[in-house]
Symmetry: C2
Subunit: 303 residues, 2 copies
């Protein structure tokens, strides 16, 4: 099973009539992650036919309203639907204080239980993991404490070639170590090299989400070689000065981060409301990094 990303919102803070503030859903094997939760996220979930109950983990990059004002509505709806159990929210520690009064107000009827996990804005940190997937938060460069998120599969063992088990009479006890790279010594003392016995594991998939942030070269090392990089591009180069002042990026900045980090594909978003269309963002980014797409509401990407 692949990673599947759905864009729910691609806009920055001021509303437009056709774009929503930031929200994305990433499905990985066995999990469904919500990344940021701007106002209107629950309507966008409905439109994109995403089952509300599948969301158990929500990652909030920072506490500007266009990244979290949809959270209380979503929690309220999960509750009205009678969803039970923990809802894990990874965010700045202050988030709990900001929405607690509203949570308390519906508390009498609450079935879902929000569990807040404070982010570390000083250094990268693994904030969630299963046997197959891990999520790493990392600080980016914005006007308030902000984290990006890296979602990646854990490295897998190689697969053993079944015909070789028979050919060399390999005992079951040896299979695990062969999958992990060991050679095999046959009963007649021939050493069979590992690469004859195995098919290499597929490269782990990965997705990096970077918003809101200025162009920030230290990110490159953390997100090195990701399959897909989502990087904000609030402005065009013609507004570079404003981007610098507000600690946002231009489309060119985003493309340069794709180059610098060795990303395979770039998605750009978080567009300023002053731009009604996004084609100039795409044009500007593609001049630097060809494999760029615009993150538009409703688009899905599998990788």
């Amino acid at each position: 099973m692949s990673f599947e990303l759905t864009i729910l919102g691609s806009n920055s803070a001021l509303p437009t009539s056709n774009r929503y503030p930031t929200a994305q859903v990433l499905r990985v094997p066995g999990r469904c992650f919500l990344i940021d939760c701007g106002e209107g996220t629950q309507i966008q979930l409905r439109r994109n036919k995403i089952n509300f109950s599948s969301i158990q983990h929500i990652f909030i990059s920072h506490l500007h309203g266009d990244h979290y004002y949809g959270l209380i509505g979503l929690i309220s709806t999960l509750n009205l639907m009678g969803k039970k159990g923990d809802l894990h929210i990874y965010a700045h520690s202050e988030l709990k204080n900001l929405i607690q009064p509203q949570l308390d107000y519906i508390r009498g009827e609450m079935t879902v239980r929000p569990v807040f996990h404070p982010l570390n804005f000083k250094k990268p940190q693994t904030i969630f993991e299963t046997k197959t997937v891990e999520v790493i938060s990392f600080p980016v460069k914005h006007s308030v404490p902000t984290c990006g998120f890296l979602f990646r599969e854990k490295p897998k063992s190689a697969n053993i070639r079944k015909e070789k088990i028979k050919e060399y009479n390999i005992p079951i006890a040896n299979i695990r170590e062969i999958k992990n790279g060991a050679d095999f010594l046959t009963s007649d003392e021939r050493l069979i090299p590992n690469d004859e016995l195995t098919i290499p594991a597929p490269k782990p998939r990965s997705y990096a989400f970077c918003t809101d942030t200025a162009f920030y070269p230290p990110l490159a090392e953390i997100i090195r070689g990701v399959d897909v990089l989502y990087h904000e591009s609030t402005f065009l180069e013609e507004l570079k000065e404003l981007a610098t002042k507000t600690l946002h990026s231009t489309a060119k900045d985003a493309a340069e981060m794709a180059i610098l980090s060795g990303a395979k594909k770039l998605l750009i978003g978080h567009f300023s409301a002053r731009f009604k269309k996004t084609d100039r963002f795409l044009e500007e980014a593609k001049q630097v990094f060809e494999n760029t797409e615009v993150a538009e509401e409703g688009r899905k990407y599998s990788f």
Copy 2:
């Protein structure tokens, strides 16, 4: 100038892919009122090309999330736009406590100043007035304290017939009392009756907003003879039991309130998400009260 009502949201609590939670804008001469402010209101304002800065008075019926979760986003946006001055919010006194932490969080950058006016849930009360218009809140019957709102023009004076001023040589000093209903005594002591001297004032316009509420006969007297009545109809009669249990109304209930109050026109809304289409609501209401329309997103009504 007439009253102009724009429907921004017609849905009840659970989200659907094509309807928004409750919000409406009512323009009256010289003012623009926002009534309820469900999640996504600011996007709907944008889509309906309503100038954010024209909104200085917001009326919140009650504190279920689908009626106020859009408020913080709207305030934040007004602030980002640099709007200055007071923003009057008429709501349950608890609202301030619910959103204050989020307001405080953006306080450093706040230019707009929310002013909270607590509603009276015991009896009708005039909560806002100008020389020409008044807004009256009145308790309705729901599971939490909830108010409806009556927006009405104040009675106007009659207009004097200009040709009569000349004909009877009426001094300027007498004109005001004639407009207010006085007869006129000419210099040769003839008594001219008022109705010969004046054209009656147009009947004051009025609009009543009633959500969320069970069918509640005492409302009829308060909203007697309104031009337009918006009354919730969350359910159809086939779910009457659920309506009763949750203190909501059916389409038939809404229509009966229109009859009982002598409303000239009925708008129904606040539809349960279980109904994808609204045609059966319209059908049910029209069987009782013919002049009914469905409050759909983007529809405008002038009266």
